[in-house]
């Protein structure tokens, strides 16, 4: 039987496609099989369902805030960039009136309006940044941490547009030369990726509290919001607290108490 050239090409092409498809499917299966049981969680790791932080604003002063910021930025190799347009910030100072702009109140004392407090990623329970990421480079962990996988980020900055808290920074240039002293235990970032606070996942996974909490002299309290016996829950159950932009439905996990000092609370 004579096969026409056209038909031969069709058959050959089809067979080749099937062949390649088959091989890659097989490879995927094979990859899943290799050493599936070889990895464990560190027994020391802290486990929670939804980590959160309560910031006691009355205990924050310039010195403690600096300690928190330095501890975080040193630990995570956050570069120091003077140009505010290219700045990279994981936890930083912002005045009350700018952190909570919708609470605009002209009768509020100037010193409270301009009082600085600490802001950081809110690790929202319903995070818009995670919703928009086209590669799952930012995702929510089982313990509620809104995490960044810097390996996977393509630098599209959709998450920066989606975050209503300005918590995300982009590496407009190579950050390496601008890191004051390198922490050899933690990676840096490269140019072209987005970064933000990761709630010290690397410390939690080894059984330690976040660096800012540790350095805060008790101004920052860390715990599991889903655990009714946790310290954060005890504070939140007995005190009036506020969160940034709760009306957006993002459900932030960072709470602020004693805003304006104890005498005002």
């Amino acid at each position: 039987m004579r096969i026409k050239r056209r038909e031969f090409l069709k058959t050959a092409g089809g067979a080749a496609l099937l062949g390649f498809g088959g091989i890659s499917a097989f490879k995927v299966l094979e990859r899943g099989r290799a050493e599936a049981s070889a990895v464990l969680r560190d027994p020391k790791a802290l486990t929670g369902k939804r980590w959160g932080i309560v910031v006691d604003v009355s205990k924050l002063n310039v010195e403690t805030m600096k300690k928190c910021m330095d501890a975080c930025h040193r630990e995570h190799n956050v570069p120091f960039i003077e140009n505010p347009k290219e700045e990279i910030k994981w936890i930083w100072k912002e005045t009350f009136e700018h952190s909570f702009p919708e609470t605009e109140d002209k009768y509020l004392a100037e010193e409270i309006k301009h009082m600085p407090l600490l802001v950081l990623c809110n690790h929202c329970d319903n995070p818009p940044c995670v919703r928009v990421c086209p590669t799952k480079a930012t995702f929510k962990r089982k313990d509620g941490i809104v995490m960044m996988d810097m390996h996977r980020c393509i630098g599209c900055r959709f998450c920066m547009a989606a975050c209503p808290y300005g918590a995300r920074s982009f590496n407009w240039r190579d950050p390496r030369p601008l890191i004051k002293e390198e922490n050899k235990e933690f990676p840096t970032r490269m140019k072209g990726v987005v970064e933000k606070c990761t709630l010290c996942y690397e410390r939690l996974d080894k059984g330690r509290e976040p660096a800012c909490v540790e350095a805060s002299d008790g101004a920052l309290v860390f715990g599991d919001l889903e655990d009714p016996n946790s310290e954060v829950r005890k504070i939140l159950g007995s005190r009036y607290s506020i969160r940034r932009k709760p009306e957006l439905g993002t459900l932030p996990s960072v709470y602020y108490i004693n805003v304006g000092g104890i005498e005002y609370a």
Binding site: P84, K85, E86, E87, E94, H98, S99, P101, E102, E104, P128, R131, V132, C133, P134, T135, K136, A137, R152, C153, I154, G155, C156, R157, F158, M160, A161, A162, C163, P164, Y165, G166, S169, F170, N171, W172, R173, D174, M190, K191, G192, V193, V194, K245, L248, G249, T250
Partner: protein
């Protein structure tokens, strides 16, 4: 058919070489950006998207607007568009290519772009946008090229292409709706958080796209033997007129909602754009130019006398294209970021390398468009009668 792009007049070659020069300058600037990072642009922590994403948004609209030609022609058998349907489809091809390139040059880690396919994320609008854009590109290349080939052979296109053409018509609005969803679904960006965004995107696209085609048609009439047809041009002018009116109305609705409700977050970006906030006024001239051009275009479009005169029609079309570009290609993106989430104002203005890269991508778009049009027009110049038996211009070829 492609070989026809290799033969051309002196003017054609000067134009091609000029475009290659622009592309070259853009490419060199891109290499600079690739090695240093996006820090060479005017974008910042607070205004984290700029000119690139603005161009992308605008051009998705231009691409989608091909439907204003293709739909009347194929679905309503509007024969006047028979000669220019292909022009619309090829504008769509060039625009989608530019869109993809603008996304690419905006990426911080462009070499990882395939992560989008490696880790498909259906809940991300960006992922969807990529899918619909790629699909639209394929459909337009397929339909445009096939129909043109049939025309060259002097036979009517086979029936199998029809479903693809209908699919392309339905697909066109979807690309722009999805692009609007990139913006309008974000909490906390008041300027974007509005349900009318997708509608405004479509209406401004259907004004800007036909305007571009009017300009192109007028140029083709002047420089080639191919005449797109005065009546086709006039019909496009009417399309552009109505959609420009609708767009201006939609913008007015936005302004009303913001200022009658008096919600500060909704008023701030509009105030920033039109009068500035605390002395930050970089975009004020842009916005007022946009308004002035839109007003001029409306007057010239609506008045039948000026719409029917070639010179004033050209002015109206150019004014529309530029005005909507200023709105969608620049101020729309920046307005969403100013003021920032802390109600602080950080302004944006593009840098020179950023502008060169932008021009380079536009250069690639016009280069693709030139090649495709050269092919199309060579075919059309040769075709003595179109498939409806209407007389085309007879070439002096033997």
């Amino acid at each position: 058919m492609l070989e026809t792009a290799l033969k051309g007049s002196r003017t054609y070659w000067i134009w091609v070489i000029f475009l290659l020069g622009v592309i070259g300058a853009g490419f060199i600037s891109y290499l600079y950006q690739f090695s240093v990072g996006l820090g060479i642009t005017g974008m910042s922590r607070d205004v984290s998207w700029g000119l690139y994403i603005g161009q992308f948004t605008y051009l998705v609209g231009v691409a989608a607007s091909a439907v204003t030609i293709v739909l009347p022609y194929y679905l309503h058998n509007f024969k006047k568009y028979g000669r220019i349907a292909i022009l619309g489809e090829f504008v769509a091809v060039a625009s989608v290519i530019m869109c993809m390139l603008f996304i690419f040059v905006d990426l911080g880690q462009p070499l990882r772009v395939l992560n989008v396919l490696l880790h498909p994320t259906p809940n991300s609008v960006m992922f969807f946008d990529m899918v619909v854009l790629a699909g639209y590109l394929m459909l337009n290349i397929l339909c445009g090229w096939y129909v043109l080939g049939a025309e060259r052979k002097g036979v009517p296109p086979s029936a199998w292409i029809k479903p693809f053409i209908i699919l392309a018509i339905c697909w066109a609005p979807s690309i722009h709706i999805v692009t609007a969803f990139l913006y309008q679904g974000l909490p906390g960006r008041h300027y974007w958080l509005t349900a009318i965004m997708a509608a405004k995107f479509l209406s401004s696209a259907f004004a800007a796209g036909p305007s571009l085609l009017i300009v192109i048609s007028l140029i083709l009439r002047k420089f080639t033997k191919f005449d797109p047809g005065w009546e086709a041009i006039q019909t496009m002018a009417k399309t552009a007129t109505y959609f420009l009116i609708v767009t201006v109305a939609f913008y007015g609705f936005e302004v009303f909602t913001a200022f009658y409700s008096q919600i500060p977050g909704h008023m701030h970006p509009i105030k920033y754009l039109f009068v500035g906030i605390d002395g930050h006024t970089k975009l004020v001239p842009v916005m007022w130019t946009c308004v002035a051009l839109a007003a001029l275009a409306l007057i010239l479009f609506i008045n039948p006398k000026t719409r029917k005169k070639e010179s004033t029609l050209a002015v109206a079309a150019v004014a529309t294209f530029i005005s909507l570009w200023l709105e969608k290609g620049i101020s729309l993106v920046v307005g969403g970021f100013v003021p920032n989430p802390f109600e602080r104002v950080f302004e944006y203005w593009p840098t020179i390398p950023e502008v060169l890269i932008t021009l380079g991508v536009w250069g690639i778009g016009f280069f693709v468009l030139t090649i495709l049009y050269k092919v199309a027009i060579s075919v059309k110049e040769e075709a003595v009668f179109d498939k409806y038996g209407e007389k085309q211009i007879i070439t002096d070829k033997i």
